[in-house]
């Protein structure tokens, strides 16, 4: 079935993206499901060559994540480091691998502390491996703005992780 093939092909990347944006895998699943449902709705009217399905889906996921992050801010719901490092559902071995990895947990925590647009650009560029024009298309900005956001995001990550050498596996040979 075409729907299953497409779902199995795009879902891992969408789930990874949403999970890292929201720092909440349950919410990420809801977002991915909603995005795919929207795809099924527009599928009959889809015009070939208008946009790549994956780009369109990333854009929808971005918007849904933005909505949820805004709602989270409005309700003052904080996602703490403890929430990030929380033991995962054993039914999800791949996600468990992410959460159990101390280094990746530290990175995810740092990502969650970046401004939303910088986080979005860094994840799409350096984790999802999209090109700058694709990211610009998803975020609705130019390529130069993407480069700027990515660079600032990486600098922000470096600053946030500077004091967490042990979490990152750096040897603390001086002390």
């Amino acid at each position: 079935m075409a729907a299953r093939v497409l779902t199995e092909r795009v879902c891992p990347r969408l789930l990874g993206y949403a999970g890292r944006m929201l720092n909440d895998w349950n919410e990420a699943e809801d977002v991915v499901q909603e995005a795919m449902l929207r795809l099924w709705k527009v599928a009959p009217d889809w015009r070939t060559g208008e946009a790549k399905v994956s780009t369109w889906l990333f854009r929808v996921v971005s918007n849904l994540c933005t909505d949820r992050l805004r709602a989270r801010r409005n309700s003052n719901r904080n996602i703490s480091l403890e929430t990030v490092a929380e033991p995962p559902d054993p039914a999800r071995p791949a996600l468990a691998e992410i959460v159990h990895s101390q280094r990746l947990a530290a990175l995810h925590d740092a990502l969650s502390r970046l401004p939303e647009r910088q986080r979005q650009a860094v994840i799409l560029r350096h984790i999802e491996g999209l090109t700058n024009p694709e990211i610009g298309d998803i975020m609705g900005i130019g390529t130069e703005a993407v480069e700027s956001l990515t660079a600032r995001g990486k600098r922000g990550l470096a600053n946030l992780l500077a004091g967490r050498q042990k979490d990152l596996g750096y040897e603390d040979d001086g002390t």
């Binding site: 779902t7 789930l15 999970g19 071995p93 995810h108 860094v122 050498q165 750096y170």
Partner: protein, 123 residues
């Protein structure tokens, strides 16, 4: 795996960290995939039903009310004949029209025009 450097560094290697993160394989839970695939089936079914109720169904009923295919064939036939007579009339048609209008009864084209004699004469 340690991300050590020869000299003590306070700057973490962000590129290496991000690359490590990118290598992690995310496998969506089977239940999520199943939910999404089921939603696609439901969406397809819903589209089919709504098309039947609002789109082709309504037009189809109107078409049937107006006479169906005999009505459509008649309209098309009349349109073709009308187009033919308008753009490329057969030669005998002019003769036939002249004969009917101006032939034996002595009527001339000028007789069919509105006379302004009274109006002009009055002024």
């Amino acid at each position: 795996m340690k991300m050590t450097e020869p000299e003590k560094s306070t700057e973490p290697d962000i590129d290496a960290l991000l690359a490590e993160c990118a290598r992690v394989e995310i496998r969506p839970p089977a239940a999520l995939v199943d939910r999404i695939v089921r939603a696609s089936v439901l969406a397809a079914g819903h589209r089919g039903r709504s098309r039947g109720a609002t789109g082709r169904g309504r037009l189809g009923r109107l078409y049937a009310e107006l006479g169906g295919w005999p009505m459509a064939a008649g309209l098309v036939g009349i349109a073709i004949v009308g187009g033919w007579l308008g753009f490329s009339p057969p030669g005998f048609l002019d003769v036939l029209a002249d004969g009917l209008l101006f032939g034996s009864n002595g009527v001339e084209p000028a007789d069919l025009m509105i006379s302004l004699d009274n109006v002009l004469g009055a002024s």
